[in-house]
Amino acid sequence: MEKVLQWFRCRPKWRVTVLVAGSLVFLVGLMLLPLMYLFAVSLAERARYGTIRWHFSLQNYLQAFHPLYLEIYWRSFWIALTTTMLCAVLGYVVAYTIALRVSGGWKSVLLMLVVIPFWTSYLIRTYAWMLIFRAQGVLNNALLWLGVIHQPLQLLYTTPAVFVGLVYAQLPFMILPLYAVLQKLDPALLEAAQDLGASRWKTFFRVTLPLSSQGLAAGSALVFISAAGAFITPDLLGGARSMMVGNVIEDQFAVARNQPFGSAVAFLLTFVVLGILLASLRSTQRGARELL
C-alpha cells in the first residue's frame, strides 16, 4: 500500500488521472459517446418499420425545417420566452423582498419556502395543477360557488394551463440566482439614488436592475432552457395544440418510430440551447465589464 502511494506521489500526473478516471468513464462513456451516436443516427435513414438504415445524408435536417416543424419550434420558443418573462417578473418580486426587505429569521424562512417546491417531485407539482384545472376541479368549483361563472371553464388541456405549469415549475430557478445577486447589492446605493431624487421605479431601472443583470441572465438561461425542452408539462396539461419540441422528439422515438429524424430534431434543440447559453454568458460578461 505504502509503495503504491509512494509511486503515485512521485508521479502527480498519474495520480490525477486515476482520480479523475472514474468520473470520466461515466461522462465520456455514457454521455459523450451516446450523444455522438445520436449524431450519427441523425444522419442515417429510417428503414421500414422503424429500424435504422446506415445510409448517410442531411435529409433529416432538411425535413426538420419543414414549415410544419418550424411552427412547433416557434411555439416552443414563444412558450419558453413568455415563461421566462413571467418568471422574471414574479422572481424579482420575491427575490427583492427576501434580499432587501426582510431580515434575520424571516429571510431564511422565506428562502426555504422557495426551495421546498424546488425539491418536491416535478410530476407531483404538475399533477396538482391537473386537480385544480379539471372541469370539476378546485378552481371551477370555487368560481362557480362565488358566482363568477355559471358554466365550468375548460382549463385543463389548454396552452394557458401549460404556461401556469411551466412558470410554477421553473420559478425557483429564477428566484435563487436573482436572490444571490440582490443579496450582495449595497442598500446604500439605492438610498443614494433616492436621496438624489430618483423615483422608486427609476431607482429600480437605473440601479437595481443593472446591478442584478448577472442573476437575471443566469436565471433566464436556466428557465428558458428547461422550458424550451419541456416534455412532461405539455404532455399532462396541454391539449391538441400545445405540442412542443420535446413532445416531437419523444413522439419520433416512441410512436412514429423515426429515430433518425427524432435525433436530428434533438440535435437542433441542443444547438439552439447551447447558442442561447453562450449568448447569455457573453452578455453577462459584457454587462460586468460595462459596470467596471
Binding site: 410544419l68 399533477y127 385543463l156
Partner: protein, 610 residues
C-alpha cells in the same frame, strides 16, 4: 432602515407569489383526505386513500426500486465525483477546458435529448434495460453536480491547513482523512442530497431506460396519472412532501454551516429509515428466488386477482409493465434489450412483428385449453393464419362514447365528431391507425385503405376537425368523460365498461359507418427468457374461470366460449363488452399497411403538429 420606505404593494405581490407556490401543494394535501373519488368537492374526512396506498403493492415495489437506484447513484456519484473534484484543482491547460466541457454537458443538454441518446445507445451496445441501466444512466447525468458543487467548495478552501498538517508530520493519506475530507464534508453532503433527489425524482430519462421490473416511483405515479386521477395519488404526494420538507431543512442549514456534520448525518439517516422501513416491511414477503414471468401488456389487461392467481398456482413471481400503443410495444421489442416473456400486440402489429422476426413460434401442444375453449371466430385470422405465433387474448371494438346528458339528440354516427357544436369537448385516441380509421369510415372507405387519394382526403378531414378537438388521449379518456372534461370521445370499448356502470348517462356505440374490431394476441418474444412459464400462463389464461375473471376485473372481453357462464350478469348485459352480433358485421379488422404506412406516419405528424 432598509432601502426605501416600506411598500405594501411589494409585500402584497410577494404574498401572492407565495400563495401561487403553495396553493397547489395545499390542494394536494387537503384532497388526500377527501372522501369523494372523482370530484374536487369536499365530501368529508377520510384516511381511506392512505390505507389504499399502504395496501398497494406496486407503489411499494416502485418505491423500493427508486430507493435502490437513488442510493446506488448517490454512492457512486459521491465517491467518483469527489475524487474527480479533488484532482481537478491540479489539472491545467487544454485538458482543463476540454474536461470542463464534458463535465458541464449533462447540466446543459436538455433532458429529453440525454434520454433518447441513452436509449438508442443502450440498444446499440445490447445493454439489457433494468435496474443496472437505470443506475448507469442516473450516474451519468448526476455525477457532474457533485464535481461542480464539491469542486467549488474545495477551490475556495485554504490549502494552508493541509500544508500545516503535513508540516506537523501527517502523511498525505492522513492529511486527507483528517483535514481535507472534514473540510469538504458539508459540500459533499449537500452534493449527495442534490444527487439523491435528482435521481429519486427523475421521470424522463428513467421512462426511456427502465426495463422489466424496474419501474421507479415517478414512473408508477406517471402511469397512475395517465390512467386516471385517484385520490391515492394525492396520498402518495402528501407522503413524499412529508419526507421532502425535513430534507430541505437539513440541506439549508448545511449550506449556512449552522448544522454540525454529525447531526446532519444522523437526521439524514433518520429520514432515510423513515422512507425505507415501510418499504422493507411491505416488500419483504416476496422472495426473489422463485421463477419470474415478465409481462408487457396493454394498460388494464391484468388485475391483482389474475396476477395473484397465477403466482399461487405456479409458485412464481409476475413482473408486469403496461403500454398504451402498439407502436410503443414495437419500439421496446425492436430495441432488443428488454426481457419480456408475454406481450399482447393487436392483430396488424402481430403481422409486423412476425415479419420483423420478433416473435417466437408457439409450441401448440402446450396450449390445450386454447384449442378447447377459444371462439373460432378469432382463430386462423389472416395476420397469422395458423396461429403459429399468436393466440387471441382479448378482443374489442373502437367506437364512440358520449355523455347523453350533455350531447343532444341521437348519436349513432362518426359525424358527431365533426359537429362544430361540440368544439372543445371532443377527445380522440392518441393512436394513428384508429384516428385514421374513424376518418376513413366517415368518408365511406375501408379503414385499411392504401389509396393515397383516400388517405389524403382523410387527412384533410382530420385537419378540418382539428379546431374541434380538445386533445389526444389513449389512456384515461373515460375519466375525462366521467368528469365532464370531454363530452364525446373515441374509445376502446373495455375502458368504458365500469364508468358506464357507475354513470348511466355514459353511452358507448358502434357507429353506423362501422369501426375497428381488434383482437389483441398473446405472443412470446423471440428472446423471452422464460418461454416455458409463458406458455403455461397463456394456457392458464384460457381456463374458463380465469377468462371470466379477466372480463369481470378488466372490463374487456376475451374470446373464450365458456367464460360467459362465470361473468357477472350486469356485464353480460353491457353492450360495450357484449355487443349485439349484428353490429359487429359493420366492423373491420386492421391489416398491416405496407409502404402506405409511411404516408400515414407523415400525415399523422402533420395533424398532431398543426
Amino acid at each position: 432602515m432598509r432601502a426605501g420606505r416600506s411598500s405594501p404593494g411589494l409585500s402584497l405581490a410577494s404574498a401572492l407569489v407565495y400563495l401561487f407556490l403553495y396553493a397547489p401543494i395545499a390542494v394536494l394535501v387537503i384532497f388526500s383526505f377527501n372522501q369523494s373519488r372523482l370530484t374536487a368537492r369536499w365530501r368529508g374526512f377520510t384516511l381511506l386513500w392512505y390505507t389504499t396506498l399502504w395496501r398497494d403493492h406496486r407503489i411499494f415495489h416502485s418505491l423500493m426500486n427508486s430507493l435502490v437506484v437513488a442510493t446506488a447513484t448517490t454512492l457512486i456519484c459521491v465517491v467518483l465525483g469527489t475524487m474527480a473534484a479533488l484532482a481537478w484543482t491540479a489539472v491545467g491547460g487544454k485538458w482543463r477546458s476540454a474536461g470542463e466541457a464534458v463535465i458541464y454537458l449533462p447540466l446543459i443538454i436538455p433532458e429529453i435529448v440525454i434520454a433518447v441518446a441513452l436509449v438508442i445507445f443502450f440498444s446499440f451496445i445490447h445493454l439489457e434495460l433494468g435496474l443496472t441501466s437505470l443506475i448507469l444512466a442516473h450516474v451519468a447525468f448526476c455525477i457532474s453536480y457533485v464535481i461542480v458543487v464539491t469542486g467549488a467548495r474545495l477551490a475556495s478552501s485554504d490549502r494552508s491547513h493541509v500544508e500545516a498538517a503535513m508540516d506537523l508530520g501527517a502523511d498525505e493519506w492522513r492529511a486527507f482523512f483528517r483535514v481535507t475530507l472534514p473540510l469538504a464534508a458539508p459540500a459533499i453532503l449537500s452534493g449527495a442530497l442534490l444527487v439523491f433527489t435528482a435521481s429519486f425524482d427523475d421521470y424522463l430519462i428513467s421512462s426511456f431506460v427502465a426495463g422489466v421490473g424496474s419501474t421507479t416511483l415517478p414512473l408508477q405515479i406517471y402511469s397512475m396519472l395517465k390512467r386516471g386521477i385517484t385520490p391515492e395519488i394525492n396520498a402518495v404526494s402528501a407522503a413524499i412532501l412529508a419526507a421532502t420538507i425535513p430534507l430541505v431543512y437539513i440541506a439549508q442549514r448545511l449550506e449556512r454551516g449552522s448544522l454540525s456534520l454529525r447531526r446532519a448525518m444522523a437526521s439524514l439517516a433518520g429520514i432515510f429509515a423513515f422512507m425505507a422501513i415501510p418499504v422493507l416491511v411491505r416488500t419483504w414477503p416476496s422472495s426473489p428466488n422463485v421463477p419470474q414471468l415478465n409481462l408487457y401488456v396493454w394498460s388494464d389487461y391484468l388485475s391483482p386477482r389474475l396476477i395473484h392467481g397465477f403466482e399461487q398456482a405456479y409458485h412464481c413471481h409476475i413482473n408486469y409493465d403496461y403500454y398504451d400503443s402498439n407502436e410503443a410495444l414495437l419500439a421496446k421489442l425492436q430495441a432488443g434489450n428488454v426481457a419480456y416473456d408475454v406481450v399482447t400486440p393487436s392483430d396488424y402489429m402481430v403481422q409486423i412483428m412476425i415479419h420483423q422476426g420478433l416473435l417466437a413460434r408457439l409450441d401448440k401442444s402446450k396450449l390445450p385449453n386454447v384449442w378447447a375453449h377459444a371462439d373460432p371466430r378469432f382463430l386462423h385470422l389472416p395476420f397469422d393464419p395458423h396461429n403459429d405465433y399468436s393466440v387471441p387474448y382479448a378482443w374489442g371494438t373502437t367506437g364512440l362514447a358520449y355523455r347523453a346528458d350533455l350531447v343532444k339528440g341521437k348519436v349513432d354516427s362518426w359525424s358527431v365528431m365533426f359537429n362544430p357544436r361540440y368544439a372543445g369537448h371532443i377527445l380522440l385516441l392518441d393512436d394513428m391507425r384508429e384516428v385514421f380509421a374513424m376518418a376513413l369510415k366517415e368518408l365511406g372507405y375501408s379503414l385499411n385503405s392504401t389509396n393515397p387519394a383516400q388517405i389524403r382526403q382523410a387527412r384533410d378531414l382530420l385537419l378540418r376537425e382539428k379546431p374541434l378537438v380538445k386533445g389526444y388521449n389513449s389512456s384515461n379518456f373515460q375519466q375525462d368523460l366521467a368528469a365532464g372534461d370531454a363530452w364525446i370521445v373515441q374509445a376502446y370499448n373495455g375502458n368504458m365498461t365500469f364508468v358506464m356502470h357507475e354513470n348511466p348517462n355514459i353511452r358507448y356505440v358502434i357507429p353506423k359507418e362501422g369501426c375497428t374490431i381488434s383482437v389483441d394476441c398473446a405472443c412470446i418474444p423471440r428472446n423471452a427468457p422464460h418461454k416455458k412459464l409463458a406458455l403455461e400462463f397463456i394456457n392458464w389464461f384460457y381456463r374458463p374461470r380465469v377468462a371470466a375473471l379477466f372480463i369481470n376485473d378488466c372490463g374487456f372481453n376475451t374470446p373464450n366460449l365458456l367464460a360467459p357462464r362465470y361473468v357477472r350478469p350486469w356485464l353480460l348485459r353491457n353492450t360495450a363488452v357484449f355487443p349485439n352480433p349484428a353490429s359487429l358485421t359493420r366492423c373491420q379488422f386492421m391489416h398491416s399497411l405496407g409502404r402506405a404506412m409511411l404516408l400515414y406516419d407523415r400525415y399523422w405528424t402533420e395533424i398532431k403538429a398543426d
